[in-house]
Amino acid sequence: MFLELWKKECGQVAKSLIYWLYVIVLAVFFVSQLGSLKSHMLKEPKKGQDSYAEYGTMQSNDEREIMRTALSSLAQGIWYEDFTTYPVGFVKHITLSEEEMDEIEGILLETTGMSRDAAGEDIARHFQENNPENSYVPYVAEPKEGLAYEDFLRKMERVSEILGPGSDFTEERMKASAKLPMDYEGAMEAYRDLVEKDGYTGGYLRLFCDYMGIILGILPVFVAATRILRDKRAQMQDLIFARKASSFAIITSRYAAMLCMMMAPVMVLSLAPVVECVTFTKGSKIALDYLAFLKYDLGWLLPTVMVVTALGLFLTEITESALAVLVQGIWWFAAISLGVDKLHGGQYGWNLIPRHNTEINYSGFANGYTQLVYNRIFYVILAIALTAVTILIYEKKRKGHLRRRGKILRNYKRTDEA
């Protein structure tokens, strides 16, 4: 019975307007963001190129440099009494309490040997010597002699705790601020990673997943909400409830059908970068990973679609309204904003939409791989849990609980009140 129901549900989805709108939006988004990858495909870097920028940038591991950049920022923040953080991509100015300020000033003293006033003098002196009107030379604060890097890191961690999320003093940010342009060796390494470890297609599929994740973090909720609301609008619930089919079969067949129908166009679209790769690398000795698209579609994108759809099912079933759309909208907004400074990939965290806005940075991917796997598994489990709860709710409704009396739903005026 499940198979039959699943087939019917797929048919239902295929006949609904909202599904085709979904497909169109998906396709348009794909074309606009990833349109032609041909112009971006990486070739082997040659010695003596002007710039290797397309192969990324290199992290400066010069500890001194990192310390310098961070401490300058700290000194200025203390002197001007203004710290900015970017918790969700929007700027936020932080005001500190007296104790917090004292503590941070203490840290400045320990790391640079400068008190607040001393820092102020130092900054003033710097800008007198280097008039910002002529050319802006950033202020640099020197770390104290003998300051150990680990000690420095510990202190900066404390500062970022005080300031809250998104500050300049987290380890990632500090390292990120100290970046150098890519050189030939670095570029070669990135390219080799792409060819050998990624099978060339892997890199582009990661890029595909990055972009498609953005739209898939919200679009499925519309399809899910519509399907559930349709039953309510047609007032067919009783007919379905009174039948033999179990709540489990009904809900899971609907869910499975929606997932299949929604992932199908995604998988078709994911073949486009593969095809581009094939054409681009024709004649070369590069061994392509032809099946990478399966790994990425199912491993990277499917969990996002699963959980967005499951949440949509759950909220729509329980509220019988379009609330799921708004909730998902908020979640999407948060996920996107949180990922704004992690675009380069490798820092996947627990984000619904893991970002990796480049075909390279395989090392970042490798480093963040375990976290990514945990992340994706988490969302799959969450999706299953939400579906299970939905089944329970459906079953309760079937027995006559959780229903509202009267034929017309809460949001709609009752005929007699009109």
Partner: protein, 195 residues
């Protein structure tokens, strides 16, 4: 009418009230203020305006209402107007709070800019709803519009780019007009709908 609009007001109020937790509302310069207003606050346009037809979603109920004296399009227009006023009020309060927090902004210009966006987002949703008879699609249209704009849409959207407060203020006039047109057509089409 009051009991129809309540949850939308509440939800809008909630997302506005929560915003200081994640955004900073103090000491923003002109560009940052614009960003907060046009990328976040304008979203209340979607919440407040799109569900305007929902109370009469049931077809029988629609027929019943349409047979009464007051034309149904008048009812819708009143609702839309009320929603816009409430949105405007919320916006004013929010901007006032920002000003208290020492944010830089050109009040009149920004106010009009965000209202234009509210009309555009809401209007697009209303039109989508009336054409499809489906409130979910009504929400989807402005959501997709927003996502498109967010994902670097200035190129494609040109004069319809919703986040042009600082870069290209002309877009706001376009949005304002487009929003009004969408709302108008949405109400007319819905009023005539026999579906």
């Amino acid at each position: 009418m009051k009991h129809n609009v309540l949850w939308q007001i509440l939800l809008s109020a909630v997302i506005l009230l929560l915003s200081p937790l994640i955004l900073g509302l103090r000491n923003l310069d002109a560009v940052q203020s614009a960003k907060v207003l046009e990328m976040y606050v304008a979203l209340i346009g979607i919440i407040l305006l799109v569900p305007v037809f929902q109370p009469e979603q049931n077809k029988d109920l629609r027929d019943l209402i349409q047979s009464k004296y007051t034309k149904i399009s008048v009812i819708y227009s009143v609702r839309v107007l009320a929603a816009i006023c409430i949105g405007g009020l919320m916006l004013l309060i929010y901007m006032w709070v920002m000003k208290q927090g020492n944010c830089e902004m050109e009040t009149g210009k920004y106010f009009f800019g965000v209202m234009a966006e509210i009309l555009a987002f809401g209007g697009l949703g209303i039109l989508a709803y009336s054409l499809s008879d489906n409130v979910v699609i009504g929400y989807m249209a402005p959501a997709v519009y927003y996502v498109a704009a967010y994902g670097g849409g200035a190129k494609y959207l040109k004069k319809f780019y919703p986040f042009g407060m600082v870069t290209d203020y002309d877009t706001k006039y376009v949005l304002f007009a487009a929003g009004l047109v969408c709302i108008l057509f949405g109400i007319i089409i819905r009023g005539k709908s026999r579906r």
